[in-house]
Amino acid sequence: MVELIVYGIVLGSIIAVASIGLTLIWGITGVFNCAHGDQMTVGAYVALLFVVMFSKVNIFQGTVGPFSFSWGVLIAFIPAILFSVGLAILMDRWVLKPLRKAGVHPIAGFIATIGVAWILRGMIYIFWGADFHFYAQGLRPMIFLPLGIKLRTDEIFIVFIALAASAAVYIFLQKAKMGKALRALSDNPDLARVSGIRTERMLVWAWGIAGTMVAIAGILYGIETQLRPEMGWIFLLSLFAAVILGGQGSIIGALAGGLVLGIAQQVSTAWLAPTYKPAVSFIIMILVLLFRPVGIFGKRRE
């Protein structure tokens, strides 16, 4: 059981990283981004592209320390993040912004992001096909923790990166001027405008953060399991649940929500088949919606 909880923390930290971007965008624009999961997939696959390239030209090939992956994977984070941020900003500009300008209900944005999700997934299928891919073949070094828990060294990397990234975003939002403005925007967009804050410009920053987190989450997930085109979409229900559990716009909430869901999902495998994990997320989400819709850290919002 303890082992399951530990695995849950690993899974949960990946969910948390991705959820942070989702809740940030939801808090500011009121739109639930259904493409978020597939953006994770894109991030993971762009990294894969570079990893494969590196191996073709035989650079960055040595394994990183005690982990299973090569330096190429680490370096590939950078182009993956850049691409993901660019993609997010374009998606906002071409699809979501026109809908905002038209003054329609955020549900239209929600449906539009579903369209984007299909497009992204279609692209992945077309360029890489439906097979599984891996960042690294071969051995996966393990370490042994007390209580007989076996953990892959990679998983320590994952948790560490996830926490570091989450902490970085949190500190940014708390201390940096731009970060505070994002919080203000999420809190009260009208008042932010009235204060002179240019909402559209700030949104670009928000997408920058979301795009970065989502790419990181995608790569981490690829390291943890494998890459396949459906990976992000399957994750989406967990992301939704984490964000709803944590409360709209709350970073800490997304972090807590992610961890809770990761643990719940892994623990559920003691009784249910692993394919039920999304269903577990969903049930938790429904319970939250029925009994405490604002989530743990959420505020009253329309």
Binding site: P98, A102, V104, I111, A112, W118, G122, A279, S281
Partner: protein, 323 residues
Amino acid sequence: MGTAIGGILSFLISFAVMASIYAIFTMGLNVHWGHTGLINFGVAGFFCVGAYTSALVTSPMPTGVLAQYIKQAFGFNAPFLVGVLAAGIICAALAVLIGMLTLRLSEGYLAISTIGIAETIRIFFNNERWLANGPQGLIGLPQPLHGLVPPAYYNYVYLVIVLIFLAIIYIALEKGIRSPWGRVLRAIREDEIMSGANGKNVFYFKLQSLALGAFIMGVGGALYAHFSAAIQPSAFEPLFGTFIIWAMVTLGGTGNNKGAIAGAFVVWALWSWSTFIILKIVPPAFQTRAPYIRYLLIGFLLIFILLKKPKGLISEERQVSKF
């Protein structure tokens, strides 16, 4: 030449059957969204339950050797119409259950919940082998009036059957919309508060609308099951089971049944014909990946429709004046 035309004709008939089945779904969704304003992203769930209910009700329980390969919870070997009716009823009941749980939620949450419900249903059918044979699904489903014509022409017969259902549903719905009941639903869609009905009544109306739409979707699912004669859970994933139908309704005009049917035919045409064309143009090396171009198609279509007529999907913004 004869076979070429025969081939095209056969393709067209299959196309028409699926398009008509999807048209039935769009009308069901129109009851939910077009007429009552309920965002149901879980159509795939009703699709799945409808199909499986009819399949199980109309199949015999496997015996002997077969029982080792095919696991079912029950099988009544009942006639086709009983299967279809059962599908509708079970879906309606399911809808009521879901409604009791989720109607209190605001729209966005309702939408997300319905996605989760549909996925859970699909996962359930996939995992619980005892229910309906898990991932392998059920095969050899009975087809009504099978012996009437040579097998090559069976689809013509089925098309007629589906069109009859489509016509009945269309007429019934058009009558329903013009009735007082229909007017209440539309008033609820426009603005709950102003419709004059008190909270409790609104709830019951929504529940009724959910049940009716789900009944129709259940019928659609049953018709699908007996058309393809084999079903498995993977057929009911969100793209084919829910969002393609949303694209159809959005294109055809929300709340407009004629438009919904037209939307179904247009989108299904795009979908099935594009596969056909793609497989012709794309070099063999990429044949396995070519079908995924349809993902792009549906994605762009959805976005295109939304951007072109954003007010069309979400007609009136609820105006709240601040004094």
